[in-house]
């Protein structure tokens, strides 16, 4: 079962992955956007780290929903750009999805991510194939749900989700962007990976901590 502490481990890991890949994300955004996706996400996740750390003792026993909502508010108020409202809305919906629960089981996690996807899609009005983070996110959500449904354990299902996210990100490369800044490039957006799809890959990669991975790196 996943509790608030485990969710925090996930967010810490995500912040770390974003920080490490900041320049990579910005460079991708320079090619078909405005060269700030890494900077934006890093600013946001550093601010998230801040609330995780600062309130370590205080909110040790807040519910998952409260944590997710706080994360959403931080992302919305710190990231800006397109990715702020998109990830922010996703986390807001995740918070709603987990409701009053203190502990989340595998099903809850799958539903949490799925709710996030819906929020992201409603906010951005993008669909599969528009060359956005949705291309990675939606595939990850499907893979996670069906793998769990087929009876695979969480760890394996998350691995499936990560592969699917990566594949979704890869598949953005040949596409012409129809949403976001890259869409202004028309034909010239073809041949380049969408930066948001990669930050989404990291979101799921970080989620491996739900299956007991990755904590070793963190206090």
């Amino acid at each position: 079962m996943i509790d608030t502490a485990r969710l925090k481990a996930w967010l810490r890991r995500y912040a770390e992955l974003i920080h490490v890949h900041k320049d990579e994300l910005t460079a991708l955004d320079a090619t078909i956007g405005d060269a700030d996706h890494g900077t934006n996400m890093d600013r946001g996740m550093q601010a998230v780290l801040h609330i995780l750390g600062d309130e370590e003792d205080a909110n040790e026993n807040i519910r998952p929903a409260e944590l997710l909502k706080q994360v959403a508010m931080v992302l919305i108020s710190k990231v800006g750009g397109a990715s702020g409202p998109l990830y922010g809305t996703a986390f807001l919906r995740m918070a709603q999805a987990v409701g009053e629960k203190e502990q989340l089981n595998e099903e809850d996690i799958a539903q949490m991510f799925a709710a996030g996807l819906n929020g992201m899609k409603e906010r951005g009005k993008a669909d599969l194939g528009d060359k956005t983070m949705v291309d990675a996110y939606a595939r990850a959500v499907s893979a996670l749900s069906s793998s769990l449904a087929e009876g695979f354990p969480l760890k394996e299902s998350l691995a499936q989700a990560i592969s699917a996210a990566k594949e979704g990100s890869d598949q953005t490369i040949p596409l012409i962007a129809r949403k976001g800044r890259a869409s202004y490039l028309g034909e010239r957006s073809r041949g380049h990976r969408d930066p948001g799809s990669l930050s989404t890959v990291y979101l799921f990669e970080a989620a491996l901590v739900f299956a007991g991975e990755g904590e070793i790196n963190h206090a």
Binding site: T26, A30, T31, I32, G33, D34, A35, D36, T39, N40, R43, I76, S77, K78, V79, G80, G81, A82, S83, G84, P85, L86, G88, R123, G124, R178, K179, G180, R181, S183, Y184, L185, G186, R188
Partner: protein
Amino acid sequence: MKKLINRVEDVVSESIEGLVLANPDLVRYEREPFFVYRASSQTKEKVALVSGGGSGHEPLHGGYVGYGMLDAACPGEIFTSPVPDQIVSAVKKVDHGAGVLLIVKNYTGDVMNFEMAHEILEMEGIKVERVIVSDDVAVEDSLYTTGRRGVGGTVLLEKIVGAAAEEGWDLERVKDLAERVAGRVRSMGLALSSCTVPAKGSPTFALGHDEIELGIGIHGEPGRKRIPKQPADTLTEMLTQPIIDDLALTSGDSVIALVNGMGGTPLMELYIVYRKLEQLLRERGIAIQRNLVGNYITSLEMQGVSITLLKADEEILAFWDLPVHTSALRWGM
């Protein structure tokens, strides 16, 4: 990267601080959340105009806060739209009951952040309307895309609509006028060089010694195509013709023209472009009734130019001529 800055994180806030220190009679700012607003408190009940967007486009928008234009501006990080908190706080600060018009440039991030702020403000019972500026003809406009970017037309719109608000027009009329202006203004730009986003530290794109990016926006994003260097007259025609076509300008029409530098272009070159623009329009029987030539909506230190034409009528020209007093645009007072 060589820039006149201190820490990369402080570029936006220090620049706004400088703006406010240099114009204490005109503007003030609040830090958390961050926004700029008029120093003179509104006595009369007027519709307030609030805009904002990524920074790096100075004087837009902070330079247009003042009498006859904006009531508040929300600066985001460089090239990153402001967040809902900023917009919500700015609106609350300048709303005096007559309602607020949000002026939003059409970028996914801007639209979404203003939308979230809008939702919050409506929940709180504040009268808010929104106009989206999407004047860049370099971008194809289609149901399957996010539509055109908002560029130079924003400046003209803020001036004209600002004058109407100052005249006491109500929110609905102000909004209708804004829509009307947005529907009649088109722009196109090009770059001779890229800009360098401070947090990235290197140019966003690399241009060859003899290359020009045609159809750029205002974020150092690559344009629609890369062409070999051309004389200014040819380039001016390449920017002007698509605008004329899109607005279906014909003989007898009147326009307000903006020849805008992208931040690193000397005024001398902008006037060379204006010269040709005037000639091209004159040949077609189109009269430039008013004009602006200078750096009005920029992309950091990018070298380049954009042309904006607004199909004018009596009403629009009358609002244009009304006094304005901001740090970047001033006449009649």
